[in-house]
Amino acid sequence: MTDYLSVENLLIERDDRLLFKDLTFTLSAGEVIQLVGRNGSGKTSLIRTLLGLMPDFEGDLLWKGEPLHQERDDFFNHLLYLGHKPSIKSALTAKENLEWLVAPYTKVSDQAIEQALSEVGLRGYEDVECHSMSAGQNRRVALAQLYLLDLPVWILDEPFTAIDLAGVSQLEKRISEHAAQGGAIILTTHHVLDIDTVKRVNLDDFMPRGKHAS
């Protein structure tokens, strides 16, 4: 059972405000961790810290037992990150967007892209430029990556945004599938997840009560 990411006694302060402290959890193969907390509680800050985009923190971050900042390359080679914004270029077609998104990891055939797009309900949309698709459809193009790439760790920030009910249950199914196959997922969402094995980490639990500590 691989331990992928470990967070130990993490403290994050942002603009002189303490977001949380002593946060500790581990993401292992087969696990789905949902980060919850009220708005502004630091879910996004936590994710960005894990990704190395926010270097101001105290505590330890580990990747497979080694310090994360030394293992960045290995981490990035095993990570699929879908951010809050879909990273879709409106002037490109769905296929062109996906080709670019997966290029650092692997080469994919046209059939694979078509197959992935039909999994997210966009069969036949390969050559449609994304500016003529709705926000929900753009989001689904981004989600098609979950069917195209074979990376173990997923970090998903608000992946259910702009998705309809059918899409939601489809995505939940895909997440469960991935975990069952040994993948590991961290996600943030306000959504109530219909996945049995979900482990909830509530950032509000790690907020100091009362006055801000300095």
Binding site: D15, P55, D56, H212, S214
Partner: protein, 259 residues
């Protein structure tokens, strides 16, 4: 400390603690209170003695006569402005590599002080230029390079004020200062070349005969005085910043109420 205590963990831990005490705003605030008068008084003495000597007692320049005396302000100011830029970039680099808050604060406050010295150098350059070349401004190599240095300073200051998050502002300006530092020799070389191309008969200091002791020593006094003044000013500003940043800290509240 016996030999057996010099095992690796022991001295390494002590070194780390010493190194990081430099990083502690609290330590800095407490110690710097005592340093300030040791900086300000010698600074005033050195600057005054250097200037008085240079302005009134040093020999006249063989070519320029008395108008040369502005040299005693111009050259130290120019020297400091360049020196401070280098210190600002190094402090920024220390912050980038080891994330030391004091280095970040030092770099931040170097910028306006350095820019002021650059402006002083330009102003005194103009005052020197009028009797020497007949114009308040000439595009001579050194003045032009000093003007570009001022632009680099202003860029750092502008970038800092455009960024909301303090840590990011410190790191971004650190990168900019380092890029600027690397470019300064290139800019100087280019401007020198450009200048000789268009003004082959430019007067430079190095073409004169060697300067006697009575002429360069007062300038040295002023330079040292300026360094002390800069350090004093820097520490004062850094102390104000520590107060602003750590305002809620208990140690600071105690310090301030004890006054």
């Amino acid at each position: 400390m016996s030999l057996s205590e010099t095992s690796a963990p022991g001295w390494k831990a002590r070194f780390k603690r010493w190194f990081h005490s430099w990083a502690s705003p609290k330590w800095f605030y407490e110690k710097s209170a005592r340093w300030l008068p040791w900086l300000s008084i010698p600074a005033v003495l050195l600057i005054l003695s250097g200037l008085v000597w240079g302005l009134f007692f040093a020999p006249q320049d063989y070519q320029q006569g008395n108008s040369f005396r502005i040299f005693y302000l111009h050259v130290p100011a120019a020297f400091l402005s360049q020196s401070i830029f280098m210190m600002m970039a190094i402090a920024g680099a220390i912050n980038l590599i080891w994330r030391i808050k004091l280095a970040d604060m030092a770099a931040k406050h170097c910028a306006p002080i350095g820019a002021s010295f650059a402006i002083l150098a330009l102003a005194t350059g103009a005052i020197w230029g009028k009797p020497t070349w007949g114009a308040w401004w000439v595009w001579d190599a050194r003045l032009t390079a000093m003007l570009i240095l001022l632009f680099l300073y202003l860029g750092v200051i502008a970038l800092y004020s455009a960024i909301d998050n303090r840590e990011t502002a410190g790191r971004s300006t650190a990168i900019l200062s380092l890029v600027g530092l690397v470019n300064i020799p290139i800019i100087k070389y280019s401007v020198d070349w450009w200048n000789t191309l268009h003004q082959p008969a430019t007067f430079t200091l190095t073409e004169k005969p060697a300067m006697p002791f009575e002429m360069w020593f007062p300038a040295l006094l002023v330079v040292l005085g300026f360094y002390l003044f800069f350090t004093w000013m820097l520490f004062k500003r850094m102390r104000a910043e520590v107060v602003e940043r750590e305002f809620k800290a208990k140690w600071l509240q105690k310090e301030l109420t004890q006054k």
